[in-house]
């Protein structure tokens, strides 16, 4: 037996978090044509169909026009799809055994989640940017400060859905979680008032809609444009759903790392 020498072994800083990892995560997302279509193409297409060059497009809405209103809705929808899809990637990674492989490296589970959330942040931002760019070109109109404010609210608010995606990604043992979540998100967007004004719904539906996860964000994100007072109900809606999704994701995440 040779003399036992254990060389100095360092632990990586930040639990293994690094920008190369982040860059590769984004590259993977961009390689997935379904994700690209759903987060970057589809919201823009929806906006162009329903928001731009319609008879109502140039009508006044708050301090801008209706086109701007619809642009904001579609940007939120796209950002939520993107952040959910990013979070839900954990299900694919678990199915492929990648999570297990990562557990054989110094990567701390929290660093992994941070990477996911940052990736979601960037995807959400890209989605909003794509729709806003389309809006700027096709004649969406509102004050500059409202462009910035609505984009920020849409961006930060959509991160709630990164937690939703993580929660579902850990919960559903499937490689194709987004096939389930895509229709769910569409339904939530509908009930949240992103696709149609909730006024056209009957009273029971309108009441139900107030309790769905996209309702609050939809109210908040349009507030700068419509000069609405800050709605207490909308804030409560966002905060409560954020708490539910984050708690759910944390719960499943803990189970996952304590597993086996």
């Amino acid at each position: 037996m040779t003399t036992m020498i254990v060389p100095v072994r360092r632990i990586p800083p930040l639990g293994g978090f690094n920008l190369t990892f982040l860059a590769l995560e984004i590259r993977r997302l961009l390689r997935n044509s379904r994700t690209v279509i759903f987060t970057l193409v589809l919201p823009v297409v929806f906006f162009l169909i329903f928001g731009a060059h319609q008879s109502y497009s140039s009508e006044r809405a708050g301090s801008g026009n209706v086109e701007a209103f619809i642009m904001i809705s579609m940007a939120v929808y796209g950002a939520m799809l993107g952040t959910t899809a990013t979070g839900a990637m954990v299900s694919v990674e678990r199915a492929q055994g990648w999570s297990r492989q990562l557990r054989l490296t110094p990567l701390k589970p929290v660093a992994y989640i941070v990477i996911k959330v940052l990736t979601a942040t960037l995807v959400g931002l890209a989605s909003i940017a794509a729709v806003y760019l389309a809006g700027a070109i096709t004649g969406a109109h509102m004050p500059v400060s409202v462009w910035v404010e609505t984009a920020l609210i849409a961006w930060i608010g959509s991160l709630v859905f990164a937690a939703f995606g993580l929660f579902m990604g850990y919960l559903l043992p499937s490689e194709n979680v987004m096939q389930i979540l895509g229709p769910v998100l569409a339904l939530l967007a509908f009930l949240g008032g992103l696709f149609i004004p909730l006024d056209v719904l009957g009273e029971p539906f309108r009441t139900l809609a107030r309790f769905t996860p996209m309702y609050g964000l939809n109210q908040l994100v349009h507030a700068p444009l419509m000069h609405d007072a800050l709605s207490f109900g909308a804030v409560i809606n966002v905060v409560l759903w954020a708490a539910v999704f984050i708690a759910g994701a944390a719960w499943r995440f803990r189970r996952d790392t304590a597993r086996v």
Partner: protein, 344 residues
């Protein structure tokens, strides 16, 4: 000296005062609900050893490996890797593993996978070096999903080599590979072990254990049933059993049966394990009152059974190499499995 966090207290590469084993398992047990997957394993693997975990499916190989890697926590007992909890050893890159299946992202290329994993360790080998050592330098730009099973396995091997681990663990690494892939994979591993890395691999192929391990640990039903060199374990699996009915005091004189490796007496039945069963049969028939003589070949499966089945039956305690011993369910050395030397 190295403190319990693995930090040398007096500069880099300082040797310890005492030999620190690569792996130390003490009384390790793991249950999955009512299933007792690992029922008390004590094992020490020293640095530089190449050890095979050999055993049938369900013997507890993977479960034990998972505990050594910190992927599973034992219900009882204690696991140390280089004197630390497994997770600490993993986060320092002291131990890495090549798992059976999965563990790769299909949408990354081979090179991207290596680059990604390399960023997770504090220190790694150059990322151009490991693929060539694992024999996948030529497919660096291929998507993982388009790689063959053998290529994916060599990619896992490349990833495992990245932090230049002291201990490399392979869990049935050649499962599902064809003969050629298996040979190529093992030649890459062998090249690597010649550099002095400690290796623990699980397999259910005796040939693999024989060809690549210095030491074979036989597992069966969650216990270590034998532990010795390849030659010793092969001797357990080789040979035949001569069974005969023999009554009376003659059994006492049977210690001297020529060619016998071990002798068991069960009432009127004697079981003689031998590499040269002809000699034994000849002796029994010519020199004793043995009757109903039966000769059966022993394969590895029989060896497992023989080693686990009858804890009560004592083998004849004759000379035996130190480490090759049979254990009873309490995990203590109960009776010596006699293994002749130089039987290959």
């Amino acid at each position: 000296m190295i403190n319990r966090h693995g930090q040398p207290t007096n500069g880099p590469n300082s040797a310890q005062d005492h030999v620190l084993p690569s792996i130390r398992l003490r009384g390790v047990q793991k249950n999955f609900g009512p299933v007792r997957a690992v029922r008390g394993i004590d094992l020490t693997v020293d640095a530089g050893d190449v050890v095979a975990f050999l055993g049938p499916n369900g013997a507890g190989k993977t479960t034990t490996i998972d505990m050594i890697l910190g992927l599973a926590r034992p219900n009882a007992g204690n696991v140390e890797v280089y004197g630390m909890p497994p997770a600490d050893a993993v986060s320092r890159g002291l131990v890495t593993a090549v798992m059976q299946t999965g563990g790769l992202l299909r949408d990354l290329t081979v090179a991207e996978t290596v680059r990604l994993v390399s960023t997770l360790f504090a220190d790694t080998r150059p990322i151009d070096e490991v693929p060539s050592r694992a024999g996948i330098a030529d497919i660096a730009n291929r998507r993982v999903g388009k790689c063959s099973g053998g290529q994916q396995q060599r990619l896992r091997f490349a990833l495992a080599l990245l932090p230049d681990p002291e201990l490399l663990i392979l869990d049935e690494p050649t499962t599902g590979m064809d003969v050629e892939g298996r040979r190529e994979f093992w030649s890459a591993i062998r090249e690597d072990t010649e550099r002095g890395r400690t290796v623990l691999f699980a397999t259910h192929y005796l040939e693999e254990a024989d060809a690549y391990a210095d030491r074979i640990v036989l597992l069966s039903r969650g216990r270590i049933v034998a532990d010795g060199t390849a030659a010793q374990v092969k001797a357990l699996a080789a040979g035949r059993t001569v069974r005969a009915t023999l009554t009376g005091p003659e059994t006492a004189s049977l210690r001297t049966v020529p060619g016998a490796d071990s002798i068991e007496v069960r009432g009127d039945t004697i079981l003689v394990h031998a590499t040269d069963s002809d000699d034994v049969a000849r002796y029994l028939l010519n020199h004793t009152a043995a009757r109903d003589l039966e000769i059966t070949a022993r394969n590895l499966e029989d060896a497992f059974l023989a080693l686990t089945a009858d804890e009560a039956a004592n083998a004849d305690a004759s000379t035996s190499p130190a480490r090759c011993s049979q254990r009873d369910p309490s995990g203590q050395t109960a009776s010596t499995v006699t293994v002749g030397e130089g039987k290959r």
